[in-house]
Amino acid sequence: MAEFRLTDEAIDVPALRREIELSGQGAIVTFEGVVRDTFEGRRVVRLEYEAYPPMATKQMDRLFCEVEERFGVERLLVVHRLGLVPEGEAAIAILAASPHRREAFGAAAYTIDRIKEILPVWKKEHYEDGEVWVESSGVRRATGPGDAPLDGAD
């Protein structure tokens, strides 16, 4: 069973872990993607996510089918945060549970890799002197007149 959620609130990982616990599971892998406060020495004062929710849900359903075929995990829970996310807090949490560790590790790693390719979610970094959209490839793209585009690998 797999489930995807978008939320405006802080992600409560221990609560998610309690949700996916079932008897017979020998492995629960948890991945948290956490907000960093600097990029190449520039201080990120604010970080913000936006999504296209119905498309995100549909694309995640598709991704869950891929994961099911490849890894056969018993439970997979993905929660992505939207809106402003303070430094140090999780922007995403992925929990994968299975009888053995290999499937759970594989499912969690595959899920985050594919999310970075296909999930219609966008991230904006605000600096003291400008703002940029950050792409999964590491490209930073400014649209405002005062913002010089930045390129850099994540």
Binding site: P54, Q59, I115, P120, K123, W133, E135
Partner: protein
């Protein structure tokens, strides 16, 4: 025909709106919609753009029909 455009992130900022209506000739494809918008907003040409219809990814050659909702999707950055 008339379609609805939904724009996100950098593309929304360039268009100055998250939703708008676009009038196109019959037989138009996705790339024709982007071209029509780019003529008005040249900065759009600098942003790689993916497309979604009915919440699925489609290519630039995908045919449009009346009342389609076309999502303009800049490169994603979630996770």
């Amino acid at each position: 025909m008339k379609i609805q455009i939904k724009a996100f992130a950098a593309i929304r900022e360039v268009l100055g709106a998250s939703e708008l209506e676009l009038e196109l000739v019959e037989g138009a494809r996705v790339q024709d919609a982007l071209e029509a918008l780019s003529a008005e907003h040249p900065a759009l040409r600098e942003i790689p753009c993916g497309f979604g219809i009915a919440h699925e990814y489609v290519g630039p050659d995908h045919p449009l029909k009346d009342e389609d909702e076309l999502a303009l999707l800049p490169p994603v950055g979630g996770g």
